[in-house]
Symmetry: D2
Subunit: 258 residues, 4 copies
């Protein structure tokens, strides 16, 4: 930790988090595109080609066993690229997880573009310090709308309809989120992307999270209020069961990977 | 730059910026207190005593010549303390500087406490990338109120009254700001700390910035509109001339330093 | 309905709603003061003395039987005062009522002072049109905070503590609300006046409304979610039972009336 | 002024303001449509046909001499329609008018739809009481954006481009505003409808208002800051001179009138 390091920190690093399925980087093209969108916000162009990006990922995956999580960073100061590889963390979430609401709100779009995945975003930093014995915290937006978890997106089910905060709610357009929306549509489940009020989690029939490492994660408790006693609701379960086969079969998720 | 480093970055570093006058650290006690306030927000207590803090500063100052700028960092992950010493940057600002408004707004209090000096605050990060050929950018709050520069506080003069955004505007309580307020009061200038609308910079008689390195800095242009032709207004000039003698004479600024 | 009338409408009328207990106007002084506060916002002074005000109320009450509801209006255009007398509406609310959230938000303080009781406030106008088969609608503020009903204040009970939106939430400081707070304190119930999030009605143990006509009204359903099956919670019931004796005994409520 | 009247007031009246040119109601169809849009917001359909509407207007115009101003009201309570006819007020505005900023903000869209022309909107009521010796006041929105005057729309000219707050700024889509935009386009002036910050009136080259009675009104002073010394800027003058011939020639403005 020195002066140079501190300048890197102060200017921030743009990042993306990926995982493998069957030891291949999943949705790598989408993550690459999203990473470049963040960079282009700063007037920067892709520092490495997609081919080079895939090569770096493949080489890193080789050095570990099992499924792998990758974080790809780009320093806004030095323009260096760094990738961190770890064994994919796993958790048993089938019985449902506990979440609560974050104490600090999502930073509004007027203050920071919601799609900007950059180290040091204080809404994320502060939310993560609050997780404690919850699985994740749900971040609420400036007008009380539900946004997203600190590392997940959130979905509700109400009267058979799948509901999730729209992009204009001020969220990151998660790649697992998009896959779940497409999965639901393929199963003829009506999907509503709209502004969702935080209180709607308590009038919903089912609530679940989505994120890269775990796919679909049923929520059993919100702010200590139990949402289901025995097992996750039927739509959550259907989506959990079908997520992996669906995602693995979608060609879009394997662009450039095979 | 490695994985360890990236975890430090992601969790952020709390920092303070100080300077010397006559090779002694100015207002060190206030900066120490403010740094601890940021830490206590995270449930942390002072990692080092004030005596130790002063010793580290003195030793670092010894190694450089002339006046010195110091940045004191505390890593929220590793709990390490790091101090960076540099020659105090100087600029010729007597003829007035140009500023503009930041494109992104101050992060609202509901999203992040305004007093939190932490690396990666995106309102600051984004504002600084926008400075370009200006001296600083003025950051506006969620409701259109004037907040502060990316590294300075801002003051207006209107009909002989000194006006500056109040703490409830969502600003950092700058130490130079506080010294200037006290100086003005000692000169029988009426001071108003209140919500100030961004447009008031254009109906004001005088505008100036304050920050640690330079004290009082007259503003000559805002968004390319010229505020004064020949020289800074009379109250700005009075405060510029009297700032250093006043600040150097205030006992509060030298607690523990002599 | 003519041109003159329409000018009155366009400029608005400041009003207050009172009721009698035992055929005497309850808390008349507080209502008179609050009415004058609204008037003074417009730079106007009390158009009639408190004695005159009481006389008008007494004469109107004489003409009706039973308990009476009074609305006292002041036209901002013609400066006329008008009082409308009606039999006090009664409803059986002991088994609890249904409420929902208003579709439009409370007008923020920056747009209209929350204490301003004026005809045509669109947050109230729009909320009332939405009541339909509910008893009242709960109006939410700009940042998602719980404010008040369209004609009532709202209270929660959580872990034995009585919680109600603070004045800074952007509410009208209801006179029944104030009497209930004082009653709770007299019963050694801890009272928290604070910013309350809308979603907290779903994690609360009890929810009730207060308003002039009916005192304490237990809430059984919010947005079709049932809060209690059999009967209102213990603190709600205690406050319901004790409200009338307490309010009738408080000297403050009878200033000038006897 | 009685109880019945007060109920009408409390529920509000939806209205539109029109004028004649050459004793014919101008843009009557657009005003009729806009009035119905407000009504449909309340789930109501047009209470009278356009033919009937035109007949009422024509009959009223007959009874006055010269050009006429008409206000068409619809009571949300009694569903009565009322039209008030007055001689068209005229003012000499060629030398430019003074405006200032309203002390209270535009009611945000989440609280009240911006297109709703209803008596008692407190943003309008409070703004009008503040006009005093100004011609109009400029109402600012919740985030500091410029919205509109209390009875006018506002335009800026900057570097030859005509700039006006977009509908998403939270404004009423004025009919004169729309005619001026079309006029400018017909003259090959670039038009930007966008979010405009309040402070931009001070960096603009020209500022003017538009409203039904007077068309294009140059602004000479904002908050006592003089924008032009001698005469209105060239684009303002061009639009002033061409407005009437252009508007009178547009077929859209005379649907059903001739």
């Amino acid at each position: 930790m020195d002066g140079e390091f501190l300048e890197e920190v102060s200017q921030g690093l743009v990042y993306e988090t990926l995982r493998t399925y069957n030891r291949l980087p999943f949705a790598a093209w989408k993550h690459y595109e999203r990473w470049n969108r963040s960079l282009s916000f700063f007037g920067l162009t892709a520092p490495i080609t997609f081919e080079r990006y895939m090569k770096i990922l493949s080489e890193g995956i080789e050095k570990l066993e099992g499924e792998v999580r990758m974080k790809v960073y780009f320093s806004l100061k030095s323009h260096k690229v760094l990738v961190v590889f770890q064994p994919l963390p796993r958790a048993n979430v089938e019985e449902g997880v506990s979440v609560k609401f974050a104490r600090y709100r999502r930073i509004p779009d007027l203050s920071t573009p919601p799609f900007l995945k950059i180290t040091g975003r204080t809404d994320i930093v502060l939310a993560r310090r609050d997780i404690k014995d919850c699985y994740d915290v749900l971040i609420i937006g400036a007008s009380g709308q539900l946004c997203e978890g600190s590392f997940s997106n959130v979905f509700l089910v109400k009267d058979g309809v799948l509901i999730t905060p729209s992009l204009e709610s001020g969220i990151l357009d998660g790649i697992t989120r998009e896959n779940v929306i497409e999965l639901a549509k393929s199963l003829d489940i009506t999907v509503e992307e709209r502004i969702v009020q935080a209180w709607e989690v308590f009038t919903a029939d089912e609530v679940f999270l989505t994120h890269t490492s775990m796919g679909v994660v049923p929520v059993r408790k919100v702010e200590n209020r139990i949402l289901f006693e025995e097992e996750a609701g039927p739509i959550t379960k259907t989506l959990m069961e079908n997520f992996e086969p669906f995602a693995l079969n979608r060609k879009e998720n394997w662009v450039g990977a095979l």
